[in-house]
Amino acid sequence: MNAMENIQHKSPVLTGYQENIAAAGEDIPAEGSSKAVTDMVVLEELSFAYDGQHADIHDISLAIGKGEWVTLVGANGCGKSTLIRLMNGLLRTSYGRIYIGGIRLEPGTLGEIRQKVGMVFQNPDNQFIGATVEEDMAFGMEGRCLDAGEMRNRISGYASRLGISDLLHRHPQELSGGQKQRAAIAAILAMEPELIIFDEASSMLDEKARRDWLDLLLEMHNEARYTLLSITHDAEEIAASQRVLVMHQGGLAADLAPQELFRDVGLLRLCRMEPPFRIRFALELEKRGMMPAQQGMTDGSPNPGSEVKRIWPFSWSM
């Protein structure tokens, strides 16, 4: 037996084989497998270092299915923006593989992949190019050499979808924060990407614009055409999405449903988050023996359950 163990340790072929078996049990598709077609994003053993030494992204493997709405969360400086910049080749990986829509990201496929991926950044001012909103929307399409009729169709179509038809002839700097963000998204949608990545795109919006923003995301998700990946610190936006990826110090710390995240105190602490106000409030009530109305009343307490129900029947299911 000892001899066998020794052989296993010394034989790199055998060790590699065992790792493959181990990997097959997890949710990591092997290269060229059929799973890559239903997945919009596949990352395999991805690592990256800005200075070539200290890993800023450390061994991340994950898959995001077509049509999913995923949020990416984590403390400031944990590598969220770095990770998404790897996905469309704005940064080049040091180690590992990236597949977008089944195509492997490499120098030869960069153009094809960038057509599939649209990115919206935190400050829309950073991505306006045109002198009017219309020009700005046309810019990307011109780069793709679309014909004028098609461009006009897409501009009017997406502008009306985002409610900015009246703003097409305005200069981007004349718009309010919320309008600017809509114009930036319209320009991205006009390119008809399959994967849209938002890098804290809602962080500078005021409250009302943030609510409209959430409705817009919901609407886009329901259309089922887009895979949405959003970096955000906004608890409401996280709660509305389907799945949360939690990053910590360059690695993937968890992959779970939003409700689970808000219940997991340790994980929340790790990514420096707080649940939304109504959940924190409900947890505080629970501590004091007051249960939300739906969960029934507890024995022994003077029936505060009905009190909660009378005043505000909130629910756990968000």
């Binding site: 919320g178 609510r211 009530l285 004091r288 029936n303």
Partner: protein, 294 residues
Amino acid sequence: MAIQLEHVSYTYDARSLLRQTALQDVNLELAEGLLTGIAGASGSGKSTLLQLLNGILLPTEGTVRVLDVTLIAGRKPPKLASLRRRVGLVFQFPEQQLFAATLEEDLIFGPLNFGASPEDAARRARKAVGQMGLDEALLSRHPLQLSGGQRRKAAIASVLAMDPDILVLDEPGATLDQVSRMELTQLLHRLCREEGKTVIIVTHRLDELLPYADLWMIMHEGRAVFQGTTRGLVDEARQLPGYGLSVPQPIQYWLELEEAYGLQTEEPCLSPSGLAERLTQLAFTEAKKARAYA
């Protein structure tokens, strides 16, 4: 009075066709040592108002008094160096105020500029970095190599390092993670209570600042449509949607509670624990009463 505005208006490009009035007839009085929250929809004049407070913008009408400096529309302003040392302004986008080759240089620039010794400036830089919870290892990095959240913390630290009497922050929490945002609010609250700083914060997240602010100001289309205490804001909360703001959840809950139990004169509890505690008390008292009558 730390800050006093009398009939202040500000118009951008006042002498051209593009003239745009950002502030109209704003009156404001803020005593020293208070924490004030300013809210309002995008484009309501919040950022313009802040820039009047250390003389970056001069009023086109009216009078601005900050500490011992008076700025009167149309008159030549006095020397503003001391005002700028005493009023620290954190801009909306940190990229607008980071410029040096390393974070440390950025942080000591202010103190050196206002006459601190190099040792003192370095000490202040380290203290500010610690206050903002940034790793000292980042001091040697280029500011633009930092992540978005770290950059914002760096921008705030560079203002803290100057130890100003009045701290003015334009959406300081926008790109910070929630816990950093909360720590920042608590830090500012502490500076206000323990060191007597006057703190003014523009925010889109009223709910997070509600438990800490002494005073509130709501801006709408260049006018100050509300000024008063948190209690006053709760009373006026139903007007907020008209100003493009929604009623913050803690206030919504409190209003329902207030109505159900007639608490209109009470100081509102607006933190999750405070609100839960008050509700529990009320529910148990009511249950006791019900049992006594039964």
